[in-house]
């Protein structure tokens, strides 16, 4: 599965007046596409800090001590704030814990919801245009390089082919998005009509004029050449007209039969239209652009039309285009491999520069520049999956080198400061006075270590290229070609699709409805203080979803909500995850909520991940005493015995414990737990836990009875069903 996010050895501290609080102490995890990772732990375990680091919104007194967060080929801890604007909220969105403080109190809800959509709409159009042009140009160049090196005629033909692709691709998108809009309107109208019909039956139809107006708007919007056309369109028009007229009368007289009947007609027409097969707009776009015909031929059914268009497209263009693109990609990959081999030679050549006892600033910087350039040349311009190692190599190397030379200067200063203060201190002590404090020891950076880091980075790069070249044979250019063409299509749709204010409003109201806000039209124009806590939380969720993010971070999204709403919101998040292939990081202290959501769970305690596994691993075969404690401290519907509360409080992270941080609260703790930190023991391929209990020499301990009992009960219940 494709990994969206890597977090490696992330370490974060906070400066406070009492000392440095070590909030996160070296955690690693991956997040795959379409996966939900739950991070579970008590407050103060560092789970929120982790999520804030991913979003680049750490508090001002935070220090990122090390590690990397890699997303889309970039290390989020190192990119400048300007670049982060493109990612934050757009690609990575967050649902905050506290709905009171995450909404602007003086801006109306509607504006807060649509603001991002409108801004993003503009930005996306521009960005899509750039990406599309860049990749199509690269493809064109590579095609010429691969197939028509010394043949200007053929090169011209290839260029034309790419240009054609560009032209009809946009035509296709226009047709398709018109169809989609109509389709969307019809599918929005149907449930609304159903509700109104139902309410008329029950004699509880409220706010008729406004809602009928809405239905009319949707019904008329669904008229489209390929959906509601000809006679059906006429029917829709007359039906809506009569409904609007009848509603006015019915409102006075109270007889809704006429409206009811006409709504039924409207419903039938729309439902029928929605069941039609969708024509293939891609080939239609091509046909209209190149066949010289103004109209699509009238055929018996949409299936036949699709087959006809498809054949026309394949015969004339697509097959040859795909073949050409494939050879271009293969050629480009081959070129990239060649560059890699060269890069490896270059890396090996310049490695000795950094092996020296003492680095020379001028040669080091020169070596860095050459290496960075060489490495960037290995980038395959047609590969849509970005290789994060290649992209981060240059900046990483540079920052290490800078650290090295900065440290040389700083170390001298620091030692001088220490000596001076120490002398002063000794003088006061010698006088017999109280110096009123200690001398802060000199913070000397270990130059050896920095140098080793540099060498490590170079070695890692060499190994990485070696691996890529070795795996050359396994690449599937067929699939990559399809992926590239899909990628281009996606960007083309980004260029064509504009977002207007009214569209944004419609989308916002739909989102509000989706998250369960009644009467969204009225609510749209209200201020946050007019909403209750639960309602505000829903608005926050709607805002996060409005941007259509890649990764969604949910920081205790339902803690403030009651069960029914909680369950609705979780269902909503799950649904969106399925539909949009969203990757989710779900942060909570409530393991009960997680069972429904998570594919994998990481249990955090005192800034470290103590257990890591699939949700089945954690709930049925948990291994760490802290996970046991969490599981046994929450009651379920069958619990009668006294709850196993965790005694004590989490440790003070200014002075983190030497051994296992959970040891003082752990009734299964052994002597070694207080002395040494346990490593991650592997239990199965997907399941890891950091506890000495898993060491082969440790005594065998069963999980607490309350958990084993519960698992047995759950098994029984499942068997019954």
């Amino acid at each position: 599965m494709e990994n969206k996010l890597h977090v490696k050895n992330l370490t974060i501290s906070f400066r406070t007046s009492n000392g440095k609080v070590q909030a996160v102490r070296g955690i690693d995890f991956d997040l795959a596409k379409g996966e939900t990772l739950a991070i579970v732990g008590e407050s103060g375990s560092g789970k929120s800090v982790t999520s804030k680091a991913i979003l680049g919104i750490l508090a001002g007194n935070s220090i990122v001590e090390g590690g990397e967060i890699i997303y889309d080929g970039k290390d989020l801890l190192k990119i400048p704030e300007e670049d982060f604007h493109k990612i934050r909220g757009d690609k990575i969105a967050m649902i905050f814990q506290d709905p009171m403080s995450s909404l602007n109190p003086i801006i109306k809800i509607g504006k807060q919801l649509t603001e991002a959509m409108l801004l993003k709409g503009k930005a996306r159009q521009k960005e899509s245009r750039e990406t599309f042009d860049k990749y199509l140009k690269a493809l064109n160049n590579r095609m010429i390089d691969a197939l028509a090196k010394d043949d200007p005629e053929k090169a011209k033909a290839l260029t034309k082919k790419c240009k054609d692709f560009d032209t009809f691709e946009k035509k296709h998108i226009e047709l398709e998005s018109a169809y989609n809009r109509a389709h969307q309107a019809a599918s929005d109208a149907l449930p609304e009509i159903d509700t109104i019909l139902f309410e008329i039956e029950k004699k509880a139809f409220t706010d008729p004029v406004e809602r009928i107006k809405q239905v009319k708007k949707l019904a008329l919007a669904s008229i489209n050449e390929w959906m509601v056309t000809g006679a059906a369109a006429g029917e829709v028009r007359t039906a809506t007209e009569t409904i609007v007229a009848d509603t006015k009368i019915a409102k006075k007289e109270g007889d809704w039969t006429a409206v009811y009947e006409n709504l039924k007609i409207l419903r039938r027409v729309l439902a029928e239209a929605l069941s039609f097969v969708q024509p293939n707009f891609f080939s239609m776009g091509y046909y209209l652009t190149f066949s010289g015909e103004k109209e699509i031929p009238k055929l018996e059914s949409v299936e036949e039309l699709n087959a006809f268009l498809r054949k026309y497209l394949d015969d004339n263009f697509m097959l040859s285009f795909i073949a050409d693109a494939k050879s271009a990609i293969a050629y480009s990959a081959e070129a990239s491999y060649k560059e890699m081999l060269e890069a490896v030679i270059c890396l090996k050549k310049y490695r000795p520069v950094f092996e020296a006892e003492k680095l020379d600033k001028k040669t080091s910087m020169e070596a860095y520049q050459i290496l960075a350039k060489e490495i960037m040349e290995t980038v395959d311009c047609l590969n849509i999956v970005k290789d994060s190692m290649v992209y981060t190599f240059g900046s990483g190397l540079r920052s290490e080198i800078e650290t090295y030379f900065h440290a040389i200067k700083k170390n001298v200063d620091e030692v001088a400061r220490y000596n001076k203060q120490k002398a002063e201190y000794d003088r006061i002590v010698a006088k017999g006075k109280d110096p009123g404090g200690e001398v802060v020891p000199a913070a000397v950076t270990d130059l050896e270590l920095v140098r080793d880091n540099i060498l490590n980075q170079i070695d890692r790069m060499i190994a990485h290229f070696g691996k890529l070249v070795d795996n050359k044979e396994t690449r599937d250019f067929e699939a990559e070609t399809v992926a590239l063409i899909d990628f281009l299509k996606e960007n083309a749709s980004g260029i064509v699709n504009k977002i207007t204010k009214s569209m944004a409003k419609a989308k916002a109201i739909k989102l509000m409805k989706e998250v369960g806000i009644n009467n969204p039209r009225k609510r749209y124009n209200q201020y946050p203080f007019e909403f209750s806590g639960g309602m505000r939380q829903r608005i926050v969720i709607a805002i996060a979803l409005a941007a259509d993010p890649d990764i969604l971070i949910c920081d205790e999204p339902t803690t403030a909500l009651d069960v029914t709403i909680q369950s609705q919101i979780l269902e909503l998040i799950n649904k969106l995850k399925r539909e949009r292939q969203l990757s989710i990081i779900f942060i909570t202290h409530d393991l009960g909520v997680v069972a429904n959501m998570a594919d994998r769970i990481a249990v955090m305690y005192a800034g470290k991940i103590v257990e890591y596994g699939t949700s089945e691993d954690i709930f049925y075969h948990s291994a760490h005493p802290y996970t046991w404690a969490l599981l046994s401290s929450m009651p379920d519907l069958d619990t009668n015995e006294k709850l196993d509360a965790i005694p004590g409080t989490p440790p003070n992270m200014i002075y983190p414990p030497i051994g296992d941080a959970f040891a003082p609260r752990n009734k299964y703790a052994m002597q070694i737990d207080f002395e040494r930190q346990p490593p991650m023991f592997k239990i199965t391929d997907s399941h890891y836990a950091a506890t000495w209990l898993l060491h082969p020499d440790a005594p065998k301990i069963d999980p607490p009875k309350i958990i084993t009992d519960r698992i047995a009960r759950m098994k029984e219940r499942r068997a019954e069903q």
Binding site: E42, S43, F198, E199, K202, K203, A204, S532, G533, G534, T559, L561, D562, V563, T564, I565, Q566, S567, Q568, L570, E571, H589, D590, L591, G592, V593, A595, N596, A598, S615, E616, F619, Y620, A629, L630, L631, S633, M634, P635, D636, L637, T639, N640, K642, L643, D644, A645, I646, T649, R710, M714, R717, R718, Q721
Partner: protein, 396 residues
């Protein structure tokens, strides 16, 4: 808990309207001495308002609240409505009646109105003076108790008498009902030390002896799992769980008979939640407390309560013992609520389907209005005649 235990709190047809918003609408229930009564429902359904009406943070719109048999809350709205309706009814009757009938009817109406107005007067009086009545009763008791002792004329007895009398004068029935609030951060005054916070109620009640107060504060701190040294600190120095413990200590120092716990654990971490729940259940057994437990976490309510009432939009829709409610949920809203509970079982969870409650589709109350009816011993459901039959059949 035996069935014939004394009824501590009785709520009769409680209504609490805020303008057009019917936050609580015709809710009735009883709480027996020593039991935990859970009140569940989604946010905004009126469960907190019910709790606050009982402790008289609001003046109720209509209905009666009896605590230990004394009416502590009374609304007048229902009487006013009755008067208006009677006026309308008699107007029609009088219009069509013969002359001698007319005077008879007019007199009847007058009598009826006078009776209701008397009720209103009484309700107003009770609403205002229940504490005075209670303290009068206590003063009477103190006087009777000390009358023979005072005759001897001992100084120390006289001092005791004065003390007891002062306390009786200041006694309020409402202090026997204490509340634990949801948010442990917002419900403690940040400028008061823990000692001041916990002792405040005692001082208001008339306790003057510093030593006694301190001793009691220390006792309470230890009771809730804190230590004496905590008494001189400020609330911000404590973690969430510890703050909630301070809230509990503040409530139980008054020796209350009834505690209204309004979502006492929903703002806490799971591990701390367990600590507070364990504390409350220990206190309940040791001090024999009666608790009205308001929460939205059904697992916790189930674990903690003897009987549970389910509220939906201001109405009590179902009321039963907690085992019965979870075994045989009858009302569609209760079923929908129970189907939403998350369980720590991933395989089961992935298959779980939530039942959605659509009041309009479920009920047809256009003709036959619903009321709370007993469907099985101790199991009440809001339904009308047709539904009553249907639900009864479901139980069999």
């Amino acid at each position: 808990m035996s069935n014939n235990a004394e009824t501590l709190l009785r709520v009769e047809n409680l209504c609490q309207y805020f303008g057009a918003n019917r936050a609580v609408d015709d809710v009735s229930f009883e709480i027996k001495k020593g039991e935990v009564f859970g009140l569940v429902g989604e946010s905004g359904c009126g469960k907190t308002t019910t709790g606050r009406s009982i402790i008289k943070l609001y003046n109720i719109t209509s209905g009666n609240i009896f605590f230990k048999g004394i009416r502590i809350g009374a609304g007048i709205r229902s009487y006013q409505v009755a008067i208006e309706e009677a006026k309308k009814e008699y107007k029609e009757k009088i219009a069509s009646a013969s002359p001698e009938e007319k005077t008879r009817l007019a007199n009847e109406l007058k009598k009826f109105i006078a009776a209701r107005q008397n009720d209103i007067k009484k309700a107003r009086f009770d609403q205002k003076n229940c504490d005075k009545e209670y303290s009068k009763k206590l003063i009477q008791e103190v006087k009777e108790k000390y009358a023979p002792l005072l005759a001897n004329g001992d100084e120390s007895v006289k001092k005791d008498y004065r003390d007891a009398l002062r306390k009786a004068k200041k006694a309020k029935l409402a202090t026997q009902i204490q509340m634990i609030f949801q948010d442990p951060i917002a419900s403690l005054d940040p400028r008061m030390t823990v000692r001041e916070i916990i002792a405040e109620g005692l001082i208001i009640r008339g306790e003057r002896d510093k030593k006694v107060i301190d001793e009691k504060v220390y006792q309470m701190l230890e009771r809730v799992g804190l230590v004496r040294e905590h008494a001189s600190r400020y609330p911000h120095e404590f973690s969430g769980g510890q703050r909630q413990r301070i809230g509990v200590a503040r409530a139980i120092i008054m020796n209350p008979e009834l505690i209204i716990a309004d979502e006492p654990v929903s703002a806490l971490d799971v591990s701390v939640q367990a600590q507070v729940i364990n504390l409350l259940s220990d206190l309940r057994h040791d001090l024999g407390l009666t608790i009205l437990f308001i929460a939205h976490d059904l697992s916790v309510v189930k674990y903690f309560s003897d009987r549970i009432g389910v509220m939906y939009f201001g109405k009590l829709v179902e009321l039963a013992s907690s085992d019965e409610l979870f075994k045989n949920p009858i009302h569609p809203y209760t079923r929908s609520l129970l189907s939403a509970i998350p369980l720590p079982d991933p395989i089961y969870e992935k298959k779980r389907e939530r039942i959605i409650y659509r009041p309009l589709a479920e009920h047809d109350y256009s003709v036959d209005k619903p009321s709370l009816r007993e469907i099985a011993p101790g199991h009440f459901v809001q339904c009308n005649d047709a539904e009553f039959k249907k639900y009864k059949a479901m139980l069999k």
